[in-house]
Amino acid sequence: MTNRCERRNGKTRGWTSAVLGLLLLCVGCRQDMHVQPRYNPYDPADFFGDGQSARLPVAGTVPRGDLITGPQELLYTGKINGALAEVFPFPVTRQVLERGRARFEIYCTPCHGMSGDGDGMIIQRGFPPPPPTSFHIDRLRTSPVGYFFNVITNGFGRMYPYGYRVAPRDRWAIVAYIRALELSRQASINDVPEPERQKLMGESR
């Protein structure tokens, strides 16, 4: 009798622990799936000394396709054999200009203003304007396009570099749009195509 009783008790205890174990597993599952053992962007990490999961490439690393010598030099540095380039690395189409305008309005207008006069909102709020407050001066009108590309990439004076958040092709598109802005101040009515000219003349009348 005693033996059977003990066995039954043992069975019950077994069941209880099995159910409890399953419950524990369920709890574990939920957390495991919600918070998986991997790093999401910007997650902190104890493993590395600086506490970040995002790692910087080893100094001197060149991403595949980003070689900045030879034919790629112009696209990525705005230079040809070390000298500021006078030409664009790809044809400037209407599409490029429109892309340039959109990127200009995101990254440049806060300081340089919508038309490049250097009267953006951040300047109005107290950012000290740089010596040339406008793109529409002779020195900048005659600067090579590579000069603008370099300033966007590496910064200039109080202007911080933008290379880390504006891709090279977008930087070139912005340069093209700056050129268009400069041209717009130098253009005469004869530069406007005929149908558009009629419209403008009509409006001004």
């Binding site: 799936m33 919600h34 918070v35 998986q36 991997r38 999401n40 962007p41 910007y42 902190p44 600086d50 506490g51 970040q52 309005e105 995101i106 990254y107 806060p110 909102m121 951040i122 709020r125 107290g126 950012f127 000290p128 109080r158 202007m159 911080y160 880390y164 958040r165 504006v166």
Partner: protein, 216 residues
């Protein structure tokens, strides 16, 4: 033969049967209310941050584009949090003595990123991608709410799956023209459904409701 049960038993039986139904329904209702309350969802709860960054000031008053800081939103799953260098682009020159910006300056000086408190997050088994949503005409404020009015940022939506599916089932209710995606002051036109249907076909928006669209 004497009755086994007292008369009142009838009432008790009725009350307990209907009471049980009502109690279960009530419990369900309470669970639903709690589950949708800010206590659980964090919706409308401004999260304390190491620096009291104001979207209201930067977006609403200064008109800075979302992408000026969240620069990877069009090309990546993550919208991108700005490195301290982006803050210092302006704050190296303005508000340079402000005490509230001390952590920003310290972060830049020591090359230690600021540890922001996350406001919006989905569980790890959800693979959300910002770039496809903005490319198909889902505006920032559709999910992130009136960001241009937030002094301290709060979560605007529950991010529950039923909320995702509400749009995935009927995207025409929310889509806007691509040119308006980053407009923080956009209001939907009265003929939203007509516009939405046009955009669904123009942008080739599919009703992706397979489990594997988000869960991989």
């Amino acid at each position: 033969m004497a009755q086994i049960f007292h008369h009142s038993t009838n009432t008790i039986a009725r009350v307990s049967i209907f009471g049980a139904v009502i109690l279960i329904a009530l419990l369900g209702y309470v669970a639903e209310v709690v589950n949708n309350s800010p206590y659980v969802t964090d919706v409308d709860v401004a999260q304390p941050q190491p620096v009291p960054f104001s979207h209201k000031h930067h977006v609403g008053e200064l008109g800075v584009d979302c992408r000026y800081c969240h620069s990877s939103v069009e090309v990546s799953s993550s919208a991108g949090m700005p490195p301290t260098q982006t803050c210092m682009t302006c704050h190296s020159q303005i508000w340079t003595q402000a005490a509230m910006l001390q952590p920003v300056r310290a972060s830049y000086r020591d090359s230690k990123p600021i540890s922001w408190t996350r406001v919006n997050a989905v569980p790890d088994f959800v693979y959300f991608n910002h770039s496809i949503h903005v490319a198909k005409g889902v505006g920032c404020t559709t999910c992130h709410g009136p960001i241009a009015e937030m002094n301290i940022t709060w979560r605007a939506q529950t991010l529950y799956m039923r909320w995702c599916l509400d749009c995935h089932n009927a995207p025409e209710k929310y889509l806007r023209p691509r040119s308006e995606v980053f407009n923080a002051f956009y209001t939907a036109p009265p003929d939203q459904l007509a516009l939405g249907r046009r955009l669904v076909s123009e942008y080739n928006v599919q009703k992706l409701t397979d489990c594997t669209t988000c869960h991989r």
